[in-house]
Structure formats: structure tokens, C-alpha cells
Amino acid sequence: MGRRERQALAKILERLEPMLEESRWTNSRAYEDDAEEEEFQRLVGSDLEQARADDLAVVRSALEADVPIRLDVEQTWRWLRSLNFLRLALAERLGIEEDGWEEKYSPREHRRPPLATLHLLSWVQEELVEALASG
């Protein structure tokens, strides 16, 4: 990944990270019942937030460092989780609610921000999944 790509990703992370706290999809419920959900969040909510913050910090550090990015399996998973959260937050911000959303936008819209940002994050995530798959 070149310096420009790293800077672009770092900026994207900086802009999207604050959205994670409020996003419906990045804070999903475990239980339908409110009391059970409250108990579940009491038990794991802060751990989940911390785990996500830790993953994003690893990604941010790698993007900001002036060395080639080389990821072991554990670091790859941190990137994968982070990218997924960022994609979910951006999609929610764009009002994407259901499958088939791609067809509602013109090719031109797909090539420009903010959709292009979503596609970039998707591409990086797919590359990492493929890297894991190929062992």
C-alpha cells in the first residue's frame, strides 16, 4: 500500500470512527427483551467497545507508521473487523437499508465519494479475506 493510499485510509478512519458509537449496525442487540438486553450490555458492552477501539488503534498505527504494512493472521483479523465496522457506519450514514442498494445509484455516483469510499473499504476487506484464504 503506497503512502497516498495509507493517508486516504487514515483520513477515512478518522472521519468514520466517531460514527461507530451511534450506529445501529455497529451496536446491535442480542436480545429482543429490553431487560435481558440491558443485562447483556452490562456484562459485555464495555468489552465490545474496548475490543473495537483496540482493533481500530492497531489499524491506525499501521497506517501512520512509515514502514511497509505486513500483517500476521491476528492483525489481519483486526483489520477485517475494523473495516467491517467502518463500512457499516458509512452505509448507515448513506441510508443504505437493504440488499440491492447498488442498483439505486448511477455508475457516476459509484465512482465518487461517498460511495467510492465504501467501495474502497470493501476492496481492502476483500483483499485481506483473500490473503487469509490463501494462507
Binding site: 449496525w25 455497529t26 459485555v44 468489552d47 475490543a51 467491517n84 457499516l88 483473500e130
Partner: protein, 98 residues
């Protein structure tokens, strides 16, 4: 070890449960969302449950095509940990009594 992996190692517990209630099976359900990559879902299912590629792919397709799929049936405490791990990977997941 990440915070969520420590959580998995410790397990979670809900208070005031009888042995019978604790052992009663609960379904862990993964729900579709319009952006999570199918390839990623398959990998998460393989990582968390040890499913082979075919099983994980079938479950992912069920989530994608039908809106949701039961990915595990476990005792409540274990199911809570599993759902927390799915949430930690950004998947929409719930648990419900079997």
C-alpha cells in the same frame, strides 16, 4: 489476546438462573445486513465455529437469501459469549430460546 477473546475465555453469566434454565438450549441467529461481505461472513463463521467451507457457505447463503440463519444451538451462557463474539466481528446476531 483481545478483550473479546478474554471474554470468551472467561465466559459470561447471568444471575439467578437454575441449573435447568442454564442448560436449556438457546439458538444463536445471524441476521443479514446489506453491506457485510459474504466472503467475510464465511470466514467469521469458520473462525468462530470451526465449520468447514461448505457448511459456512451454506449458512451464509441462508442468511443472505432468507434474512437469517441459526448458526449454533448452545446453553444460554455459551450462546451469550458466541453472540458477543459475532458482534465483535460486526455481524448482526441475536439469541432466542430454542
Amino acid at each position: 489476546m483481545s478483550a473479546i477473546e478474554e471474554l470468551a475465555a472467561q465466559g459470561t453469566g447471568t444471575s439467578d438462573q437454575t441449573e435447568q434454565h442454564r442448560d436449556h438450549p438457546w439458538r444463536v441467529i445471524v441476521w443479514n445486513d446489506p453491506v457485510t461481505l459474504m466472503s467475510y461472513v464465511v470466514f467469521v463463521l469458520r473462525r468462530l465455529f470451526g465449520y468447514d467451507l461448505e457448511t459456512a457457505t451454506q449458512l451464509m447463503l441462508k442468511v443472505h437469501n432468507e434474512g437469517s440463519a441459526v448458526v449454533a444451538t448452545e446453553a444460554r451462557e455459551r450462546a451469550e459469549v458466541t453472540v458477543a463474539q459475532l458482534h465483535a466481528h460486526g455481524l448482526q446476531a441475536t439469541l432466542a430460546r430454542d
